[in-house]
Symmetry: C2
Subunit: 573 residues, 2 copies
């Protein structure tokens, strides 16, 4: 039995109507999915945005992670629970309240649930529940996204089959079909076989749902009309004359929007401590921007005094895209950035071997600070933000290590707290909550809140990449091979020159070489390829291997998942 599932199944959940009511949303305004999940309709959110003062936005990001991950999701959950616990205590003590925190997180993909990594609903005493539902196709959003994506692919192939009036080149199809599973055998396929009645033969590929542009579009859409508009401009293919063919051209935009209409409303659940949590959307953090939907983040801001959200991978990738892509689209800007670090990751960047991370090593930990410090500097200097460090405590961490880390960061003038939400829930995050409250006050005092970006949209794509590479990745230069430059020139000719860039590179290093730990500098960022995501509204810049359809391991987690006769699920983690 997994500890996470055991804790989640033992939890006593409140009705979702009660959770909503505490945010001032009437039960009748919800769209219930069972008794502990609901969607909040967009008109309800729009009204709240018009009528209320938006809550403070806290972005949870991380230092460059180890392969195990440093716990951004659990920290986000712990911080929300910590803020709400602090608020309850203050109210109980007759002190002025600090306000209610509302989470905005990504939906889990079934790929890792059945593969190796497991679910993504937090862990220990920092979880969102109902854990099984959230991890097992939830309210059906990913299925709606898969259907919408696959409908476009089907209609494209159908167009080619029925005479191909647009003269689409079957060798220049850009949209892949998707499935929300790790299905290695579908990475490279040929389709349309079997003769005249079987469609037009061509090479094809399947991606996992979270890697689709429809997912990215879904997560950046700010309204139903904006969703339809973004879907319509997705470039699905080119003609033989190299003219872009969009979703609008193949007549799929309306039907795709119909499939996604209900899914677009954010899903509301709760943490183990009954903090409200919007769990909505979940695009890849490499070929997309890696954050929950813009609508969910705005919902958390509209309905909470504190909105806690996270961005994928480390700050160089997740926070950069959150700030330069998502914030621009959604019209939001964080008040505080919470950077998750761990003693393990600090030691890793200090040169300790992966197998020795559980042994105390204060010196190596301090050596690894260069990585965390660089992320903090970028957030402060490039973006003008106020960071707080959360040291997500693991059982192997020693007091000496934690204390040395906090002391070091204090010398740099950065608030840092040990966070023990995994073991203790919100109570383990009270200090972190206080640090966030203090940082928000400081940010307000110094007039923070004005968006600053790493690059101007009016710059060329190469200039944008250079800004990110030199200011954030510490690269000395960017190398753009002629074939890639040619594609970028074509994007400009096609009218996409003003789009932001979305860089896909390893999360394990500031550089594009995963073996370069710490804070490497002077390296060259080589752009291997670029791809247009015209619907999502960015140009994907590929600087490393990216895998858009994972495979299952030899011993997949699916082997251990089962259901008892009474419906109790086991084996999820």
């Amino acid at each position: 039995m997994s500890i996470d599932l055991e804790i989640a199944q033992a939890a006593s959940l409140k009705r979702i109507t009660e959770i909503a009511d505490a945010m001032g949303v009437r039960a009748d305004d919800l769209i219930p999915y069972g008794w502990t999940k609901a969607k909040v309709p967009l008109p309800v959110l729009e009204q709240a945005e018009q009528e209320r003062t938006p809550g403070r936005l806290v972005l949870v990001t991380a230092m460059s992670p180890t392969p195990a991950g440093e716990g951004k999701t659990t920290t986000s959950i712990g911080l929300a629970d910590g803020l709400n616990e602090r608020n309850r205590r203050r109210v109980a003590a007759g002190e002025p309240p600090t306000g209610q925190a509302v989470l905005a997180l990504r939906e889990p993909s079934l790929g890792p649930v059945f593969g190796m990594k497991g679910g993504a609903a937090g862990g220990g005493y920092a979880q969102v529940v109902p854990m099984e539902d959230i991890n097992l196709h939830f309210t059906g959003d990913f299925n709606a996204i898969a259907l919408a994506n696959n409908l476009a692919a089907t209609m494209l192939d159908n167009h080619m089959h029925h005479g191909n009036p647009l003269d689409i080149d079957p060798r220049r199809v850009h949209i892949n079909r998707v499935m929300d599973l790790n299905d290695r055998a579908l990475r490279n396929t040929t389709i349309g076989l079997g003769g005249v009645n079987g469609g037009v033969p061509r090479e094809d590929h399947f991606d996992i749902v979270v890697a689709s542009e429809v997912m990215a579009v879904f997560c950046l859409a700010t309204s139903l009309a904006d969703l339809r508009h973004r879907l319509s401009r997705i470039v699905v293919a080119h003609t033989r004359d190299r003219i872009p063919v969009t979703v609008e051209d193949i007549g799929a935009a309306g039907a795709m929007t119909a499939l996604l209409r209900d899914a677009l409303s954010p899903n509301l659940v709760q943490t183990l401590e009954h903090s409200p949590a919007f769990i909505h959307g979940g695009p890849f953090a490499n070929i997309a921007h890696g954050c929950n939907s813009a609508l969910a983040t705005r919902a958390a801001m509209a309905l909470g005094d504190w909105a806690i959200t996270e961005a994928g991978f480390g700050a160089d990738l997740g926070a950069e895209k959150f700030l330069d892509i998502k914030c621009r689209v959604a019209g939001i800007w964080p008040d505080v950035v919470c950077v998750v670090g761990t003693v393990r990751a600090l030691k890793y960047h200090g040169g300790v071997d992966k197998t020795d991370l559980e042994m105390e090593n204060v010196d190596a930990m301090l050596d690894g600070m260069v990585n965390l410090e660089h992320h903090l500097t970028v957030l402060q200097d490039v973006y003008g933000l106020t960071p707080v460090v959360s040291l997500n405590r693991f059982p192997s961490d020693t007091d000496a290590e934690i204390e040395a880390a906090i002391a070091h960061l204090a010398e740099l003038g950065v608030r840092a707290e040990s966070a023990e939400h995994w073991a203790k829930g919100g109570e383990g995050c009270l200090d972190l909550a206080d640090a966030v409250i203090a940082a928000a006050a400081e940010n307000e005092e110094r007039g923070g809140g004005n968006p600053r970006h790493a690059y101007d949209l009016a710059s060329s794509s190469v200039e944008k990449i250079e800004q990110i590479a030199t200011r954030i990745y510490r690269a000395s230069s960017v190398e753009v091979p002629p074939a890639v430059q040619k594609k970028l020139d074509r994007f400009v000719r096609e009218g996409y020159g003003d789009l932001p860039v979305c860089i896909a590179k390893t999360q394990y290093s500031l550089s594009s070489d995963p073996s370069l730990r710490g804070a490497p500098e002077g390296h060259v960022l080589t752009v291997r390829d670029v791809r247009l995501s015209a619907g999502a509204g960015f140009i994907v810049v590929i600087c490393g291997d990216i895998m858009t359809m994972p495979g299952l391991p030899k011993d997949p987690a699916a082997y251990r998942i089962d259901v008892a006769e009474d419906g109790t699920i086991s084996g999820l983690f």
Copy 2:
């Protein structure tokens, strides 16, 4: 604007809790999906089955249809509304009530919604609502089924990729991946390409979800444990030594059950006149048994005084499978069979050209009666059932035609009524409702209700096919080629000899030749192929072309589907 959608969008729906309450199900016992849809959990249904007298079961089937279909779904809806309207009128008049009718129908597939035929939520004033939701992925059941099916396929390919310890033959894989779309280009594919990291190369095929064995299993399962058991025994491949490989062997049964756990509870919605309707499951009527889930039919019987359900295609296919497969598994038996006929179909079987069906032709209509009469005779003589004919009225039907048809059937001693539910709702089915009530009383008087089947399970597969072919299809004999007989012999060796047979043949003729109208006899039924559905629990006998992955037409319905800024969907029909 489509008339069906216009009527549906103008409808005033009751809360689903109110609909459930009228059946004696408490709001708290439902699992709501929005305010007008809910799932009824299996324990609630089991308790009702234990505590209440089951309602009378009415099976709605049809004569051999024209390509346009004769309206089984609208008739089922109209009949339920008619029975409930009759009940209300009797209660209002101080007469003894006739009891409440509850529907059990199939869920629509997205293939026809985006293709040519349109949705499947009834039509005119005989609809189940919310129409858009029911037609557009509803409560997610089909997505759960697709995910469960595709997980098994993925785990099978993953097994072969990681050393293939079971020695599965990549040329003998039986499970196809599925998608709930008409996607012609996926009919014939090659997968596992791209080298060592891309899986094991092999030929593959995708089916539409409704054609999957997982769908058939889902619809025949009588409990969660039975679902898991049926899933586990699905044969997904053979080894190089020709040993069957099951879902259990590849370790997927538990995870598949987890994906399907919530979906297995029947979905409750309402008709335009607020009759309760369970809409759940929807397997193909050729390679599967073509009825809604066994659990939904049993739910309608447990909670209603009348349970109205339908079976796909004409009575030779749909009713036969309902009676010989589904009734055996679910432990149910109809009290009355309502056979849907139309003046159009009667004229068609009387030899009238498809283009002339709207012109009055009483003689041809009477000539075509041979088809309807044969279906009635089979239901009476083979199965011992009490049939009622519903003449589903179309605008082009003349009074002379309808009157002649009713008079002709009256001479045969069969109750027949003109039904005008499309134009008038339940009010247009009051006579039909009365006929069904009278037929049920007659059936009870003569001690009806004992199941009788077309064949014994202990007979050989060929004997079973012969029984159906000669008694129901009017064939003189059955031809089983040696290669097919060899496969049947293998099924016996593998332990599947006692399974019922599920015949896939054209629905347009009693024979396997769609051009033979009326009631052809003396023809030979040639078995082209047989397939094992060990999980569903039948042997599929293929006697014609079957298409398990349809394609989109040149001008698909998807082109006209759209969503306005306020979320209103247009173009569905």
